[in-house]
C-alpha cells in the first residue's frame, strides 16, 4: 500500500514565504492549537525582527516536527534541527588606509601647523637641560616640532609650499611611525653622548673619559623597541589554520566533516537543550576545550535548510520520516586559544580559519548563499 500524504501548503522557500504567511497563517494556527506545544511551522521570518517576536515563537525546542495534515495515521514527517556556529575572530588591527586618506591626513596635519597655537617649548622643557638642548638641535633639522610631516616650516617664507608629490613617503603611516621611533632613538643616547663629551673635556682623568665614552656608545647601540610588523609569519606562509593570519580581517572557522564537505561546525540538537547550549557543545565537541569562546545571545543569526534526496526514517522516534535538515546558526566569538581536532566526536577531518571570500571558495554554492549574509566583509 502506498501512502499518499497530502500537503496543505508547499514547502516554504524564500520566494513564496510571504504568500505562505498570508495564506496559510490561519490554518497553521488551527493545526498548532490542535496538536500541542512543540511544533515547527517552517515559518520564514527575517532575523532582524526575530528579537521582537513573542517568546514562545522564538524557542527552537528539540523534537520539532512540521505537522501536516496526513491522510494516514501511521507516518508523520519532520526536519532534523541542527545548531551551527559562526565562530569569528574579529580583526586585530585597523585597516590600511586608502591613498586618498593618506594624502588627506598629511594635508590636514600640515594645515594644522598653521592654524594651531605654536608649541610652548618653555612649558615642557626647562632651559639648558639636556632635553631642551636636544629639542633645539632637532628643531634645526626639521624646522617644525612635528615629526611626521617631513621638513616643513609653516611660518617661514616657504609656508605656502605645503603640498607633497603623489606617492611621497611622508604620507605613509609606516614612514611616520619610523620617524617617531628614530626621534625616540636619537633622544636619550645622543644627550648622554653629548654629556659624556663635555665630561671628557672637563675631567682630567683619561680612563674615566674612556669609560664614559664606552658607556655612551653602548647606550647608543640600544634603540627603542620596535612594534611588531603588521604582516605576520602566518601571512607570509599562507597558513590557513593559524589565527594570526589576516589581522585586518575577520576570520571564520570552517571544518571538513566526515563526508568531506567544508561547512561551518554544526551538530544535531540533542535532548532538551537550547540553541545556545547546543552551540557551545558543538564548539567543544568539534574543536576542543582549548578555546576561549563566547556564544552571543539566544537568537540564531542565519539558517540553512535542505531536503534529502531520499527521505529516511527518524533514527529515534517511530513512524517519523525525516525530510531534511534545518541548521540554525549561532554567532560566537573567539578570544583566545586554537582549535584542536584531536578528540573531536563528530568525525571532523580538518579545520581552517578563512576570510569571507576564502569561505566562498571552499563551500558549496547553495550553502554559501545561505551563509554569506552572516559573514562580514571586513
Amino acid at each position: 500500500m502506498i501512502l499518499r500524504i497530502e500537503r496543505a501548503r508547499p514547502i516554504p522557500t524564500p520566494g513564496n514565504a510571504t504568500a505562505i504567511m498570508n495564506a496559510g497563517h490561519r490554518s497553521a494556527r488551527h493545526i498548532a492549537s490542535r496538536k500541542g506545544p512543540s511544533i515547527c511551522h517552517a515559518r520564514i521570518s527575517p532575523y532582524s525582527s526575530a528579537a521582537t517576536a513573542t517568546a514562545p515563537a522564538l524557542e527552537a525546542q528539540a523534537q520539532l516536527s512540521s505537522i501536516l495534515p496526513v491522510t494516514s495515521t501511521s507516518l508523520s514527517q519532520a526536519y532534523q534541527i541542527r545548531a551551527g556556529v559562526v565562530l569569528s575572530r574579529p580583526p586585530l588591527l585597523t585597516r590600511d588606509l586608502h591613498p586618498f586618506e593618506k594624502s588627506f591626513y598629511l594635508y590636514q596635519r600640515r594645515l594644522n601647523e598653521r592654524l594651531a597655537l605654536p608649541f610652548p617649548r618653555y612649558f615642557y622643557f626647562k632651559k639648558d637641560t639636556p632635553a631642551d638642548i636636544d629639542w633645539k638641535r632637532k628643531m634645526k633639522q626639521r624646522l617644525t616640532p612635528a615629526r611626521d610631516i617631513g621638513v616643513y616650516n609653516p611660518y617661514g617664507p616657504e609656508g605656502w609650499n605645503d603640498e607633497v608629490l603623489v606617492g611621497a613617503q611622508e604620507a605613509e603611516p609606516a614612514w611616520q611611525v619610523k620617524r617617531l621611533l628614530e626621534d625616540a632613538d636619537a633622544s636619550a643616547p645622543e644627550s648622554a653622548g653629548a654629556d659624556a663629551a663635555k665630561g671628557v673635556e672637563g675631567a682630567a682623568v683619561a680612563e674615566v673619559g674612556v669609560e664614559v665614552a664606552a658607556e655612551a656608545s653602548k647606550k647608543k647601540a640600544e634603540p627603542v623597541e620596535r612594534p611588531m610588523p603588521r604582516e605576520t609569519e602566518a601571512d607570509r606562509k599562507g597558513d590557513q589554520r593559524s589565527l594570526d593570519r589576516l589581522m585586518q580581517r575577520s576570520l571564520y572557522l570552517v571544518v571538513q566533516n566526515k563526508e568531506g564537505r567544508w561547512v561551518l561546525p554544526d551538530d544535531q540538537i540533542r535532548g532538551r537543550e537550547t540553541l545556545h547550549q547546543a552551540a557551545e557543545r558543538v564548539l567543544v565537541q568539534n574543536a576542543g576545550l582549548n578555546m576561549n569562546t563566547w556564544v552571543v545571545g539566544n537568537v540564531p543569526v542565519g539558517h540553512y535548510s535542505f531536503e534529502y534526496l531520499k527521505r529516511r526514517p527518524h533514527p529515534e522516534r517511530k513512524n517519523v520520516e525525516e525530510l531534511g535538515e534545518k541548521i540554525f546558526f549561532m554567532k560566537a566569538r573567539i578570544m583566545a586559544g586554537q582549535a584542536n581536532l584531536a578528540d573531536n566526536k563528530l568525525g571532523i577531518k580538518d579545520f581552517k580559519w578563512l576570510a569571507k571570500e576564502e569561505v566562498q571558495k571552499v563551500v558549496n554554492q547553495k550553502y554559501w548563499s545561505a551563509i554569506q549574509n552572516m559573514l562580514t566583509d571586513r
Binding site: 612635528a146 615629526r147 626621534d183 625616540a184 612594534p227 576545550l289 582549548n290 576561549n292 569562546t293 586559544g337
Partner: protein, 166 residues
Amino acid sequence: MASPIPSPGALRVLRSSVNPKLHCQTQIRHASLLRRPKRPYTFTQLVTLSDGSSFVHRTTNPIPVYKSTKDVRNTPLWNPSSQKLLNIEEDEAGRLKAFRAKFGRGWDAEVPDESTETPEGQPEAQREDSLMDLISGYSREAEKKSGTKGTKEPAVPSGKGKGGQK
C-alpha cells in the same frame, strides 16, 4: 488686468496691521566676525601598551614614543579569563601567615571564588579566638553572604568547562 498694485499708503496700512514680529521674513546675513579658536599644538605619538600592541594618536605631549606599564591590557577587570592577572596569593616568606596570626583575617582581600583554597590552605573553622577577630570575622561573613546573593559568576559561558588561557 488682474488686481491693481496697491498704493504705498495702502501698503503701509497693510504692513502695520500684520504682527510686527513677522514684519521682515527674509534672511538676514550680515557678515559677522568669528573669533578663531585657540587650539594647542598637537603631536603624533606612538603609544605602546603593556602587551606590546601599539597605536598612533594625537596629543599635546612632545614625547614621540610612550610606553605604558599599566593599562587595560594588564588589568584583571578587563581580562577576566587571564590566569596571569588573577590575584592568587603566594605566601612565600610566611609573612601573610604571621600577619593573620597577629591581626586576624578581617583584612584579607575578597576572594572571588569561594571553593578554591589559598595555597596556605586555612579552612574557615581554624580561627583565633580573639575578640577583634570574631568581630571582623562576623562582618566578613555578613559581607560574603550579601556578596554571593548580589553578584553573579563572571562572564564565562556555562555548561562545559573551558580552558582558553593566554
